[in-house]
Symmetry: C2
Subunit: 274 residues, 2 copies
Amino acid sequence: MNKQQLFENIQHKKSFLCIGLDTDIKKIPTYLLKDQDPIFTFNKAIIDATADLCIAYKPNLAFYESLGVKGWIAFEKTVNYLKENYPDQFIIADAKRGDIGNTSEMYARSFFDELDIDSVTVAPYMGEDSVKPFLLYPEKWVILLALTSNKGSQDFQLTEDKSGEHLFEKVLKKSQEWANDEQMMYVVGATQGKMFKDIRKLVPNHFLLVPGVGAQGGSLEEVCKYGMNSTCGLIVNSSRAIIYADNTEKFAEAARTAAKEVQEQMAEQLKAIL
Amino acid sequence: MNKQQLFENIQHKKSFLCIGLDTDIKKIPTYLLKDQDPIFTFNKAIIDATADLCIAYKPNLAFYESLGVKGWIAFEKTVNYLKENYPDQFIIADAKRGDIGNTSEMYARSFFDELDIDSVTVAPYMGEDSVKPFLLYPEKWVILLALTSNKGSQDFQLTEDKSGEHLFEKVLKKSQEWANDEQMMYVVGATQGKMFKDIRKLVPNHFLLVPGVGAQGGSLEEVCKYGMNSTCGLIVNSSRAIIYADNTEKFAEAARTAAKEVQEQMAEQLKAIL
């Protein structure tokens, strides 16, 4: 999916919501456990209940890997289900990968070739040759970690170099030598508030993937105030607050209600640019 | 496995070799492709041919994931085969993981609980709360990326802060607040040569996982000269130069010959401390 298509979906749906499929076998309604593939059954129900309200889904690989082979089956089924039934959804493999060139090549093959996923989150620590193999696929995206939503983001990402530049700013600058805003997005946590203002100076046109609204406490209003650009430029993720809104047989309905609430707030924010 | 046991294995085998199982379906002998699970068949043959010469195996997750569900099956079978037949081998899941707390928890569950693997490589970019969940398992190890073997290591890892401290040095210092040398190791590329001297000032007692000897061009002699400590403190990995030494029916034999050559060099280097 290219940038223009993504923006068209946002305009059409009045939403820039991404729903994080952090599907945890210990948190889904217990009656689903009788099912042959409870993780996929859960995801399918969530997707069917929310697809008209969001423009992206973000399965978090850790949750699938923690179940080994069964988890990978559920992950692949989820991706295939999305591709067949909701081809307008932007799929993000939240994997935070990144390794030496020949290894990153294998990860790229896995996500882009085998599974035809739109994008993958990548960690920048290992530098250019760890990121570049992901950039060889047209209309596929690298979503590079810049300033994350967690407390630990302060440990290294905010380190200042001699000129006062933070590490995450260096990541934003340097990585623009590798790809432009048609192939690269950045992870910036919703909990970072006003930092979005500085970030937009460095990447005015890029899409930002913004986790941390909801369970992690970030404010949608603040993110929009400082982070929205003329093509929206934001994909805001919510995981737990939506998919675990309820854990009875009404979980999908409750997820829809939670997603709808966020979508309506987003529609309001989008008035500024649409 | 604890540090003492690891050192005993090194003394006993006169080796600190780790063999990287970067098993690529496109590089293994073609006659194996007739097999039901060619990746596992290949790994099993390599392991059986080399286990007395090395103290660790490092399956690289990317190579398994690139095959989807089939790859995960091969990965799990490889780990189980090692645990059952060569329980003295230190297993490293080379995964370069690291995410917000609840996600890193899932990765830790996956590698340590489900698969009972000894260690996992972790990327430091997201800071303390992305690493800590891996440290909750006794006698399991985090191998944190510090100064990697690839060219891109220069992009961010060598960034100097105001006091002249490199980012990788900050990682080495800061992470010692999270765990000691009984639970933490560091990745330092063999291609970094004399940098080992500076690194040893910061982490005199830690084990270092050293990739980059072999295909990537690092020198074993230099690594030992500047990096070895009184309990060896080095696990030197070679992947491609050993496992792809030959791609005929004699591949396992050739892998043994290649491993033997490295092991003999290591025995020589170990004379300095044993």
